[in-house]
């Protein structure tokens, strides 16, 4: 009922009935082409400069970055960070690269593999890409990456491979399409720094409902 009325109103306003093939052509070719619109110059730098831009922008957005030479160094880096923060647990996503690691460097910190729960202190997940233009991480849900790990814990650690850093958002969309045959995962998270709010007197406070701290473990591969 509503649908017919709404579409009827729109078509009346546009001065036509149901669109015929010719009238559909412009919209359909746009949907098929998936062309880029204007991409700012800052997002079109060579790869090495993109990595630097990513780091600068992520730090500006209040993320912490720890640079590592290989993924094998992740458990030790996580252990040091968590010990310093006096955090006793780490919840890990089930991604193959994280499961393959030797976590013995964690020592007395307890590692569990599950979804996020209220009260969790720290989580670690993989990522799909980094986007240099604003220092943004792209993560998505899957059987080995529960979305709750990105939002419930106080501290979110994210493993990012420098090789997956792209300049503009558009490049990440194209890679996502290729990786998933054009079907979007249930959730795609673009994350730029830790949670915050300025709802009280326009004064910025960090750590509203999401993680208070975002630690990017950047693997320079």
């Amino acid at each position: 009922m509503s649908k017919a009325e709404i579409l009827g109103n729109i078509r009346r306003g546009l001065g036509r009935g149901e669109p015929n093939a010719t009238q559909r052509a412009a919209a359909e070719s746009r949907l098929a082409a998936k062309d880029n619109n204007l991409i700012p110059k800052r997002a079109l730098l060579p790869q090495a400069e993109q990595v630097q831009l990513f780091k600068d922008m992520a730090i500006e957005a209040a993320a912490e970055i720890i640079e590592l030479a290989s993924i094998a160094e992740v458990p030790m880096a996580a252990s040091e960070w968590l010990h310093k923060a006096n955090i006793q647990e780490l919840i890990t996503a089930s991604s193959p690269e994280l499961k393959a690691l030797d976590w013995s460097a964690l020592g007395d910190i307890q590692l569990s593999e599950r979804v996020g729960q209220v009260g969790d202190m720290a989580s670690i997940t993989s990522s799909f890409a980094g986007i240099a233009e604003t220092g943004t991480l792209m993560l998505h849900s899957s059987s080995d990456s529960p979305t709750t790990l990105n939002f419930l814990p106080d501290v979110h650690m994210v493993v990012l491979h420098a090789s997956t850093i792209v300049g503009p958002y558009e490049d990440a969309w194209k890679q996502l399409r290729t990786a998933h045959n054009g079907v979007m995962p249930r959730t795609v998270n673009m994350i730029t720094g830790p949670s915050r709010s300025a709802d009280i007197e326009q004064k910025l406070q960090m750590g509203a409902h999401g993680p208070r701290t975002l630690v990017i473990l950047l693997i320079n591969d």
């Binding site: 709404i6 579409l7 729109i10 546009l14 700012p40 503009p168 054009g182 979007m184 750590g207 999401g210």
Partner: protein, 467 residues
């Protein structure tokens, strides 16, 4: 929400004398416009992006039915449901039905202006379902039984003391005047609610036709918890939010945060497509999108069509001298500022909202910052004319303008009248050159002096070649 737009003048008068409100509005003026300017400065392509965004929105509106149907088919393909709601009542009823089907007792809500527009909270409460606002600003307002006064900073009219008072009363904890402590309190209180909720309701900034995705843009992460933890995720949004592809959405993403808060990018930009997939360890099992019309489809093909380009960034109100002086509540309904002055008459009727398009100095600041270049002053003028034709404007205005029309059509008489009024006004002003009382212009001279005309009329000078 009760409509208080007809009392705009009285609302504004009270607002101008409200010390607390004036203090709070000071935070706004010192914040958003400065931050926006800095963000624009860092993006040399900003003006070109605005042109492209305007053109793309126009293309979308010319093909709106096609993109909406494409979006619907993609949502369904991914296992979700789309509901079309012609009116507020339709939208509320649809959402209540879904809630009742899953036996919901409480629902958490991310920030959504469309849900304010359809008055969803009140409807759910009346039907025995508890809605819990989770955006910090909206949460504060809900505790105070208050309404947003700004589309992205809903509690901008409040000061720290107000928040502190409300939390003390509802959380039963010692009073604090540290914003960090208050936020921590809200975080703890809402954790329990997030987990207990049966349904999560969010809005959407855009709906992507290519993939059937909706996107929310937030800094807090409350929208993400709202839509990830409960079994059912309902998106309430409106028909003009559809965009063709992910690349097209990105064009607007680049403009939205910069125009709104002056951030390079908002912390969380989250896309939702259908319910959780086989093997996913979390996420909602049901996904519904409610597409609200509420007068929008009738704007297509009219002069008001340009207003459908709006991406709800709030730049127009952040830069508006009228909004900055009287605040959002004076406008008397959900959407304040210049965008509200254009939209509100369409949604609640010009007979209720006729004063809003008049609440403008026509300084043009709103249009100059609007990321999709909506000609807001022109659209306000459209409503003023419409109101005039319907004979809804106050008598003084109508007689004034039609009086002017009478003289304008009689040039000789016009010249004589204006020349003698110039003489008359100069006499009234005396040596000061200022007039502090003018017949028929009390609304103006109560607040400021009218400068007296100097010398000859414009037409006299024109004739003498002073161009």
């Amino acid at each position: 929400m009760q409509i208080k737009s007809p009392e705009f003048k009285e609302n504004a008068r009270i607002a101008l004398q409200d010390v607390g409100l004036q203090k709070a509005l000071g935070n706004l003026k010192a914040g958003f416009p400065v931050k926006r300017a800095a963000a624009v400065e860092r993006m040399p392509e900003f003006e070109d992006l605005r042109d492209q965004a305007r053109d793309l929105k126009n293309h979308i509106l010319e093909n709106l039915d096609i993109y909406l149907e494409q979006f619907e088919s993609k949502v369904v393909e991914n296992g979700g449901h789309v509901h079309w709601a012609r009116t507020s009542e339709d939208a509320c009823k649809t959402i209540l039905d879904i809630c009742q089907q899953v036996g919901a007792k409480t629902v958490t809500k991310g920030k959504s202006m469309v849900s304010e527009e359809v008055n969803l909270n009140e409807y759910l409460e009346k039907n025995g379902i508890e809605p819990v606002e989770t955006d910090l600003g909206e949460y504060i307002l809900q505790l105070r039984e208050d309404h947003p006064s700004h589309i992205i900073a809903p509690a901008i009219h409040l000061n720290l003391e107000d928040v502190s008072e409300a939390f003390h009363k509802h959380h039963h904890r010692p009073k604090s005047d540290d914003p960090a402590v208050l936020m921590q309190e809200a975080r703890e209180m809402l954790r329990k609610k997030f987990v207990a909720a049966d349904v999560g309701i969010t809005g959407a900034n855009f709906c992507v036709a290519e993939t059937g995705s909706t996107i929310i843009v937030t800094n807090e992460g409350n929208g993400d918890l709202t839509q990830t933890l409960p079994k059912t995720h309902i998106v309430i949004t409106s028909i003009e939010k559809v965009v063709p592809t992910l690349e097209d959405m990105t064009l607007f993403q680049r403009l939205l945060a910069r125009s709104a808060t002056g951030q390079e990018f908002t912390v969380y930009n989250t896309l939702s497509t259908g319910p959780r997939r086989e093997g996913d360890q979390d996420g909602p099992e049901n996904f519904h999108v409610v597409l609200v019309d509420n007068g929008r489809s009738e704007m297509v093909g009219t002069e008001l069509q340009d207003m459908l380009r709006c991406i709800r960034c709030s730049a127009c109100m952040n830069h508006c001298p009228v909004y900055g002086a009287v605040g959002g509540h004076s406008y008397g309904w959900v959407y304040p500022g210049p965008m509200g002055s254009v939209l509100t008459p369409q949604m609640i009727g010009i007979e209720n909202a006729g004063l809003l398009p008049n609440a403008s100095t026509f300084c043009g600041k709103c249009e100059s910052v609007c990321p999709v270049r909506i000609p807001l002053p022109k659209l306000m003028r459209h409503w003023r004319e419409n109101e005039f034709e319907k004979h809804l404007s106050p008598k003084a205005v109508r007689y004034g303008i039609s009086g002017w029309g009478f003289f304008a059509k009689r040039p000789a008489l016009y010249r004589w009248v204006s020349r003698s009024s110039a003489w008359f006004m100069k006499k009234m002003a005396g040596k000061k050159g200022r007039i502090n009382k003018l017949p028929l212009a009390g609304g103006w001279t109560d607040w400021r002096d009218m400068p007296a005309p100097e010398g000859q009329t414009f037409m006299d000078q024109w004739k003498q070649g002073k161009r």
